[in-house]
């Protein structure tokens, strides 16, 4: 079969719909992952022993297992264990939340603890409660250090959505595979899929670069 790039255009609407699903899963998953990760990271950095232990177990359990296993667990095992029915899309989003959350927790913890202890003491010494010192002083400084590693995690999570092919979510990779199965245009379709991923990750990188530039890293 000769390579015929024009077939890409026939399937472009379908591929873009897949890409849309990928973006949708990624955005919802990362928003949730940021909330969960910030919480777990702060529990690790400032929590008492119990909060610390809970966060630690969560983070290590997630970092020590593959994301494919995690999403399989959510989709197939959870219904059996807890009688919770969950559709593939929700399982996919939840998998990103839980998975990215663990890595983001470590990023958040590292960023907060990298801020000099002297600044916290200076804040406490003028009579602020600890949480206000974290909110007004340490937080804004840590946030600047958060951006580069967070950007990495965003890109990893975006690409991880391709693994949800295993539970049949119609994201970009799955769409590519379905088209492939009907026309056997491997070169054209996988090239197109790869380029669409590159455009998405490229856009993300660009946004992060601009944010980083606009903020003075201190």
């Amino acid at each position: 079969m000769e390579t015929d790039w024009s077939v890409i255009f026939d399937y472009l609407p379908a591929l873009l719909a897949g890409a849309k699903t990928t973006v949708y899963i990624t955005i919802l998953g990362l928003v949730g992952g940021m909330v969960l990760g910030t919480l777990a990271g702060l529990m690790r950095a400032y929590g008492g022993w119990l909060l610390n232990a809970i966060a630690f177990v969560y983070i290590e359990a997630i970092r020590g297992t593959p994301i494919v296993v995690q999403v399989m667990f959510l989709y197939f095992a959870l219904p059996v264990l807890a009688d919770i029915r969950i559709d593939p899309m929700s399982a996919a989003i939840l998998a990103i939340v839980v998975n990215a959350g663990a890595y983001i927790a470590e990023i958040v913890r590292g960023a907060f603890l990298s801020i000099s202890k002297g600044l916290t003491e200076a804040g406490l010494a003028i009579g602020l409660p600890h949480w206000k010192v974290l909110l007004y002083i340490v937080g804004p400084l840590a946030f600047r250090r958060l951006i580069p590693p967070l950007g990495n995690q965003f890109i990893v999570s975006l690409k991880d959505t391709s693994l949800f092919i295993v539970i049949g979510v119609g994201e970009l990779t799955r769409t590519g595979q379905e088209i492939m199965a009907s026309n056997f245009r491997a070169v054209e379709i996988w090239t197109a899929v790869a380029i669409i991923y590159l455009i998405m990750t490229g856009t993300l990188t660009l946004i992060l670069r601009v944010t980083e530039k606009r903020m003075r890293i201190l």
Binding site: G118, A125, I126, G127, K132, I137
Partner: protein
Amino acid sequence: MSIIEFRQTSKHFGPLKVLDHVDLSIDEGQVVVLIGPSGSGKSTLLRCINGLETITGGDLIVDGLSVTGGKKQLREIRREAGMVFQQFNLFPQLTALENVAFGPRKVRKLSKEQAEEVAIDLLDKVGLAEKAGHYPAELSGGQQQRVAIARALAVKPKVMLFDEPTSALDPELKQEVLNVMRQLATEGMTMVVVTHEMSFAKQVGTRLIFMEHGKIAVDGHPREVIDTPPNDRMKDFLQHVE
């Protein structure tokens, strides 16, 4: 009237005894200079006053409040006892003005305008009014430390605690900080100062304390005890400092 009172105060770090049953009463208006060998507990003594370290024995009363009285009371104490650190610890994301206005705004709950007014007055007092818009990274060490003093004063404390405020500064920058401190003392501010600046101790101090192994070994008038040290270890120490 005594504004700071150590009563058999002890501080342990695990098995290490850093303050050993200290009794010390500091009156309003005194300028107490703390000296002593490294590790003798000077910083710890200072940091117990504003609760950055938690005492492990005895009691410590600041402006009528015990440092063991809970978080809220501790915050009240911290508003009455400002601290200046060796490493300045200015908030790097804020300008000099914002650093100084921060306490009045967030702690004393003034409006932005009122807080900035307070801040400008204090920057003027430490001779840095024209640097108000500069970030800490754009200031010299001496200037940063003067902003840090203004930041502590902005909360309107009754006592100022200084932990080696000039030790991180080049010799030519020390003087501008010491001058600000001297001015504060003349205005009647109660001060506790850990420093190796013996001429400052003699000229500005009203009381000198020599610490050793977590205890107060010498407590007297600066000029007298520096010129004629009452014990050999203090004499040795002073020879090393000169």
